[in-house]
């Protein structure tokens, strides 16, 4: 339930540093460079709720790692248009492409790809079924709905693609961005769900009529089939049975793959980063993710808090700034301007204090989860220079902190 269990593997790998947090002894700093330099880190999964900068964080980590000499692939789900363009992600063809402009004279490389969920699913079907059977599955209305438009598929397919990319051995580090929903952790359930479904009586029930004499039919089965018929209608039930029957042979493969991916995620070479923004709702979600990962015994490397407001002039506190602003507002032009700057300063001090409190509360609830804070920038990030700056901020290596 706590993050404590997860600090030991991180600590073993020397991923935390005693740089000393700004917010008191509770906060351990996340050493991003140690994580990226560690050649045993093969996969980094960025997860968190929507709108906290997951994609940007994933892209910045990948670029930084590549420029440190690693062979990197970044798998993104739904990047902002201009960020995607800056990385050369103009076409959605489900194949990693080299990112132009990465400074990889250190021997590294950076490839990027954007997930095409339907295509990934289709490829799995084509790889594991005979051509006739594959054609049959691809044309089934249930399959079309399942693979193209329904929620949950994206999460599974992101992990499927991760497994495929990792299996090629082409990259020594893969950075994955996860879908922007709470169900982003649904992939953790995939193996269990598939197993329980395949071994379940429901599938047997659905398959029974398709598999000839229904030896298994009992009183309970009769009730269920007639209930399903009543609710779904005979045609839907038939489509579903055809689909399940066609998929039956594939399911075993799916389960095996899902179990393989799950094991890969639990392995020492994987590092999960929970990404958050310093707002109550986002930090609450971060807690949920941390607990969920701990529950699944997934290797948590730490927390990244984006868009943190820092202040360059903390010698003046908010109350003093406001009372001085009040006095100066009646003065000459210089005084009025100063009064306005002090008002801005007071607001920022309050915001910074509130964010500090949130971070401390998180650390108290999850002691020992290493944390990196990234200062808020005034504008959006949509080029490699912007990603480099984020990388510097993540690693705590930025010289002048931008006061944005």
């Amino acid at each position: 339930m706590t993050g404590r269990a997860h600090t030991s593997p991180s600590a073993k790998k020397g991923r935390t540093s005693p740089r000393g947090g700004t917010g008191g002894s509770l906060v351990t700093d996340l050493d991003v460079d140690a994580l990226l330099d560690d050649r045993t880190t093969e996969i980094i999964v960025c997860c968190g709720s929507g709108g906290v900068g997951k994609t940007t964080t994933a892209a910045a980590l990948a670029l930084r790692a590549a420029e440190k000499g690693r062979t990197v692939c970044v798998l993104t789900i739904d990047p902002a248009r201009r960020l995607a363009q800056s990385m050369g992600l103009t076409e959605l063809d489900n194949t990693p492409r080299p990112v132009k402009g990465a400074a990889v004279d250190g021997g590294g490389s950076l490839d990027a790809m954007m997930l095409d969920m339907k295509r990934t699913f289709d490829e799995v079907v084509e790889q594991h079924a005979t051509p006739e059977k594959a054609a049959q599955i691809l044309a089934n209305p249930f399959y079309v709905a399942l693979s193209s438009s329904f929620a949950g598929t994206q999460e599974y397919m992101a992990m499927e693609k991760l497994g495929q990319l990792h299996a090629t051995g082409t990259w020594d580090l893969i950075v994955v961005d996860t879908p922007p929903s709470r169900s982003a952790l649904d992939f953790l359930d995939a193996p269990d769900r598939l197993s329980s479904m395949l071994d379940g009586r429901f599938i047997k029930l659905l398959l029974a009529p398709a598999k000839g004499p229904a030896r298994l039919i009992s009183a309970g089965f009769g009730i269920v089939t007639s209930a399903l018929n009543k609710i779904l209608g005979a045609q839907v039930l038939t489509d579903m049975q055809t689909f399940i029957a066609a998929f039956d042979t594939l399911f075993g493969g799916f389960r095996q793959r899902a179990e393989g991916t799950y094991a890969l995620l639990q392995a020492d070479g994987t590092a999960f980063l929970v990404v958050a923004a310093p707002e109550p709702a986002a930090m609450r979600e971060a807690s949920y993710f941390v607990e969920r990962l701990a529950g699944e015994r997934m290797p948590l490397a730490g927390l990244v808090v984006n868009r943190v407001h820092e202040n360059g002039a903390d010698s003046i506190d908010a109350v003093d700034a406001e009372s001085a602003a009040h006095k100066l507002a009646a003065g000459g032009a210089g005084d009025v301007a100063t009064a306005e700057l002090l008002t801005i300063h007071a607001d920022r001090m309050r915001v910074a204090a509130r964010e500090q409190r949130l971070k401390k509360r998180f650390s108290a609830a999850h002691p020992g989860v290493p944390t990196a804070s990234v200062a808020a920038l005034a504008g959006d990030v949509h080029d490699l220079d912007g990603l480099r700056l984020i990388g510097d901020l993540l690693a705590g290596a930025a010289g002048e902190r931008p006061n944005g």
Partner: protein, 321 residues
């Protein structure tokens, strides 16, 4: 007296504050004396947090009372409970319902079967919006804190996909009625955004997607807008670089503050100005989106019940189209 029930669907990119806007809209309508149901569908318990009440069960509970005698009820829709309720209500399954559960079908339907989750969530909202007490509707308005913009069209449209799978039968009839409600003039899909590039782009894409599926787009809510603190004179001086650190230092000294803070204060002013410029640029883009805009300020002290009342004041006419 509810003659018809309005459905307000509130969507927005993650982190833009759609739960807060949905709750403030509920308060606004309750302030006009209306009886409102506020639903959440993602199991996050965000409504309970906002109204500072214990986690919501699958049961409509009163969470606030409006000034005009209106009431806000809240409901966290749980797909599994919704399915069992649905089966009991429409099919009077009784023993067979239990059998379905025992066979793992309830679990299968709500977690693995494609889209069933979304069908159940929208189905429950439909049920609440069509429910009657005698000869009038139970609620004047149902507000849904919906999935994010990137997923909203698919979510609201899920029943037309079901209609594609089920050509006849009760499921088809139910799916058709839900789609009819979703596309009716009683439905308003509001998009919440902040004035930043990515959410604004998503909002514009979202409007186009919703429109192409004939789902009625309501207002665009600009949330967390930072007020401009700077006067025109200071803005111009900062932009021109003519406001000097020495001037600021002199004023600071006069007010008894540390003069060394002057450069940092100036940098803070520059950043504020830059953010205002970006904000104005994004606002200008949305002004051309063809939908009415409503603006909510960033409240410095975070969101509590008092803040919800404050925001509700600004959301009183979201039913206008």
């Amino acid at each position: 007296m509810a003659l018809s029930t309005q459905l307000h669907v509130v969507t927005g990119k993650g982190g833009t504050g759609k739960t807060t806007v949905a709750a403030a809209l509920a308060m606004a309508l309750a302030g006009q004396g209306k009886k409102v149901l506020l639903c959440e569908v993602e199991g996050r318990q965000g409504i309970a947090q906002l109204f500072d009440v214990p986690p919501l069960p699958y049961e409509e509970r009163k969470v606030a009372v409006g000034l005009g005698g209106g009431e806000v009820f809240a409901l966290a829709i749980d797909p599994e409970a919704a399915l069992l309720e649905y089966l009991a209500m429409y099919y009077r399954l009784g023993r067979a319902g239990k059998a379905l559960d025992k066979f793992g079908i309830i679990d299968f339907a709500t977690t693995i079967a494609p889209g069933v989750r979304d069908v159940l969530l929208t189905g429950k909202v439909y049920e609440a919006a069509r429910r009657r007490d005698g000869n009038r509707f139970s609620y004047d308005a149902v507000i849904m804190d919906a999935p994010p913009t990137g997923r909203i069209t698919r979510f609201l449209n899920v029943n037309s996909e079901v209609a594609g799978l089920a050509k006849v039968g009760p499921i088809r009839r139910q799916a058709d009625s839900i789609m009819q409600m979703m596309r009716s003039p009683q439905t308003h899909v509001h998009l919440v955004t902040v004035l930043e590039e990515m959410p604004v782009q998503e909002t514009i894409d979202g409007i186009a997607e919703l429109t192409s599926e004939r789902l009625p787009v309501g207002h665009v809510v600009l949330n967390l807008v930072r007020p401009s603190v700077l006067s025109v004179a200071t803005r111009e001086a900062l932009a021109a670089g003519s406001l000097k650190a020495s001037t600021v230092a002199t004023s600071l000294g006069g007010a008894g503050l540390a003069t060394a803070a002057a450069p940092a204060l100036l940098a803070g002013g520059d950043a504020h100005l830059e953010r205002q410029r970006l904000q104005d640029g994004q606002r200008a883009i949305l002004e051309d989106c063809g939908r009415p805009l409503v603006e909510l300020p960033l409240l410095g002290d975070g969101i509590d019940l008092g803040a919800l009342f404050e925001l509700a004041e600004l959301l009183t006419d979201l039913e206008a189209r």
